[in-house]
């Protein structure tokens, strides 16, 4: 059948054999293709964690930008330093003081392109291929991607309603030590966690810090949602009580605007020095323009009042989602009740595979993020992350209602095929 035709194969990528090992997983994915549909307005997207930037006073933002360009344009449009603008770093320290961090010095702050870049730099500085990063399970999906890009081994520690379990953490670190594994970081989102919506309780914060201190593991406290508390009381940051043991990551993406890409790391002095050098090799200098926009905005606008507006808006949306879940979800489904932030974590009964269910949800015009993406080890298949930050309450109710119908349908499908196992295993 094979002919004598000489035909050369074309792979459409002549560099295919040249990519680094760490790029092997960077391929087209079905789930991403489905999310492309979810971005359409016909779909109620409970998937993305996009802040409701339409609630920002855009005229005030415009005035800030205009004033900046007219008065300090030559500085704003010039290179800056890799560490970031000193004026902004001082204001960042004021922001962190709202979460109990009273001893932060601008010299120990590194401004980054969102806190995502801070995480990337930190991983670059600490993690060699094969080193272990311990995280909550589930954890922030893009943190997993960052750790994977540096070829870290990711080990999850389970959470309950009070957050990361200290007992399980101690046990995991003990096991890893016995294996001879090099555990470098504990990555945690302790406040209004993404994706869990869970907050680590104060006693547990102390326990977790103590366990990591003893094990010589640096704690990375990623805190983009800390100021978005629905009780009005900011949660005290872990860094406030452990300046030498924690690198704190902060962001203006949720409290101002993600399009500015301004975040930061607050680190112990020796770590800061390395982060600055890493930043220099990565990007030479941060965008002076967006840094100064943020700095001027904080200096001239009632920013804290704006954060209150966001909090109130997100609280209303959280309530709409929790009410709708109670109305729409079948018996056996469970979900978290966040006191702040953007997310509710829903776990479904009956062995439902939320990844397999996603196309059906999209067809029903509602989208969510399947739970498995928030684990590096394939767990989370029956869970999903729902975001309440972007759609207004009536859309949330509508979307959760649709989702409830999809879940019931999925349970029906599972039941249809579960019967097969019963028969197959009949003696």
């Amino acid at each position: 059948m094979r002919g004598r035709v000489v035909s050369r194969g074309v792979t459409l990528d002549r560099w295919r054999e040249r990519y680094a090992q760490r790029a092997q997983g960077m391929i087209a994915s079905e789930v991403r293709a489905l999310f492309a549909v979810a971005s359409r307005p016909e779909i109620v997207s409970l998937a993305g964690g996009m802040p409701a930037v339409d609630a920002l006073p855009l005229e005030a933002v415009a005035a800030t930008v205009s004033e900046l360009v007219l008065s300090r344009g030559a500085v704003a449009l010039q290179y800056g330093s890799a560490q970031g603008d000193p004026g902004l770093r001082a204001r960042i320290c004021d922001v962190m003081a709202m979460e109990g961090i009273s001893d932060a010095h601008p010299d120990n702050v590194v401004v980054t392109a969102g806190s995502q870049q801070a995480l990337d730099l930190l991983t670059r500085v600490f993690v060699d291929p094969g080193d272990v990063v311990v995280t909550e399970g589930p954890t922030y999906v893009t943190a997993i991607n960052t750790f994977a890009a540096y070829q870290a081994r990711i080990v999850h520690v389970p959470m309950d309603g009070d957050g990361l379990s200290p007992g399980a953490l101690a046990q995991t670190l003990g096991r890893l030590a016995a294996e001879g594994a090099r555990v470098k970081l504990l990555y945690t989102v302790p406040t209004f966690q993404n994706p869990g919506g869970i907050t680590l309780t104060p006693p547990r914060r102390a326990e977790v810090l103590e366990i990591c201190r003893r094990a010589g593991v640096l704690v990375v406290e990623d805190n983009p949602y800390g100021l978005l508390s629905f009780t009005g009381e900011p949660v005290r940051a872990m860094r406030a009580d452990a300046p030498d043991d924690v690198v704190y990551l902060g962001s203006f993406s949720k409290t101002l605007a993600p399009g500015l890409r301004v975040g930061w790391a607050l680190a112990p002095a020796p770590v800061t020095a390395r982060l600055v050098l890493a930043a220099e090799s990565a990007i030479l200098s941060q965008s002076m323009f967006t840094q100064l926009v943020v700095e001027r905005y904080l200096a001239t606008q009632p920013w804290a009042e704006q954060v209150k507006v966001f909090r109130e808006m997100y609280r209303e949306r959280r309530d709409a989602m929790l009410d709708a879940l109670a109305e729409s979800m079948p018996a056996g489904a469970t979900w978290t009740r966040p006191d702040g932030g953007f997310f509710v974590w829903v776990t479904l009964p009956g062995g439902v595979d939320t990844r397999a269910m996603l196309p059906r949800a999209i067809a029903a015009r509602v989208a969510y993020v399947p739970g498995a993406g928030f684990y590096a080890d394939g767990s989370g298949g029956s869970s999903m992350r729902l975001s309440f930050c972007y759609p207004p309450p009536e859309r949330i109710r509508d979307g959760v209602g649709r989702l409830g119908r999809v879940v019931r349908d999925e349970l029906d499908l599972r039941e249809t095929f579960a019967a097969r196992d019963d028969v197959a295993h009949r003696p």
Binding site: M1, G3, V5, G9, T11, A33, A419, V423
Partner: protein, 321 residues
């Protein structure tokens, strides 16, 4: 600009193949623009019909993939607006998009196609999945390929080597369609053949042989540049290639297709090209095989698509069958 007038490329929509379709549409727009055709790309949404009514294009080139793009819906709508378009008419699309019906139609014309069973989700629910799965495996043997009865880009498609995996594969398939086509997996050389008709009858383009690095031509293998090796012409005997080309033409004719199509085939150990499915709006992305076939034939994507659009334009007001 040419005298073709304004070509409206419809892409996107709400199918899972939205992203692929937008890439196909973008590539087509760029190609047509390059040779001086006035080409516009539009996503299909609630604004589409008012725009078609207010400012009708001279001809439409639908590159919508998946349901509503390939099942005849969008073309039925274009007919309602008396707008000429490139590609098959709705009745032919309906038959071609339904893999089970298309297989039956080409089989009736003497074309080989792997044995298959098509069952809706309700059948498993109402009659009992265990008994049905047992009979399916007894009839088709293993391995089998489970596919949504309609749809593209390998969404919801799985190969099952062991009976215990069939239930999972069916559930994944039912995520995309309420009916499953369970087909005997044929081992052989996977090829795809484009067909184009610019006025002198359908012509088969050189066969493109597909060799996915991971062994399975799934979504990632289709749309990650480099994940699949394509051989054009396929590394097969001339006689086999001729017969396969005939099969693609037969499918195009039997199904009543028009202008362009792409037939996916597997050439078994005996050298027989077995029909798997046909596409009425083949992908035009950088990793799609229909443009590769054109290229191998020494044809230019832009010129051929312009000619197809020009031919479609002459059909304005002509009733379709």
């Amino acid at each position: 600009m040419t005298d073709l007038g304004r070509v409206l490329i419809l892409a996107g929509g709400l199918s899972p193949e939205r992203e692929v379709s937008l890439r196909s549409g973008g590539r087509l727009r760029d190609a047509l623009t390059r040779i001086g055709v006035e080409a516009e790309l539009a996503d299909v949404d609630a604004a589409t019909l008012p725009a078609l009514a207010a400012d009708p294009p001279d001809v439409v080139f639908p590159v919508l993939h998946g349901t509503s793009g390939e099942d005849g819906t969008i073309r039925e709508v274009l007919d309602l607006y008396d707008l000429p378009y490139v590609g098959a008419a709705p009745p032919a699309c309906r038959v071609a998009f339904d893999k089970a019906t298309a297989k039956a139609a080409v089989a009736a014309a003497g074309v080989a196609t792997p044995a298959a069973v098509t069952l809706p989700r309700e059948a498993f629910h109402d009659l009992g999945a265990a008994a049905l799965i047992e009979r399916i495996v007894a009839r088709l043997g293993l391995p089998v390929v489970v596919k949504p009865r309609a749809g593209g880009s390998a969404f919801g498609v799985s190969r099952v080597d062991d009976a215990s995996g069939l239930a999972e594969a069916l559930m994944a398939c039912f995520g995309y369609h309420d009916s499953a086509l369970i087909e005997r997996a044929v081992s052989g050389v996977e090829i795809t053949i484009g067909v184009v008709d610019t006025g002198d009858g359908p012509v088969a383009l050189p066969a493109v042989e597909i060799e996915p690095a991971g062994g399975v031509y799934d979504y990632a293998a289709r749309y990650t540049a480099g994940a699949t090796a394509f051989f054009t012409p396929a590394r097969l005997d001339d006689a086999v290639l001729c017969a396969a080309a005939e099969t693609a033409i037969t499918a195009h004719r039997v199904l009543g297709l028009r202008d362009l199509s792409r037939t996916d085939l597997i050439v078994d150990a005996a050298g027989t090209a077995q029909f798997l499915e046909v596409n009425v709006a083949p992908g035009l992305t950088g990793t799609s095989t229909w443009p590769m076939g054109l290229h191998a034939a020494g044809l230019d994507l832009a010129v051929i698509c312009r000619d197809l659009a020009a031919r479609a334009r002459t059909r304005r007001g002509t009733p379709h069958g």
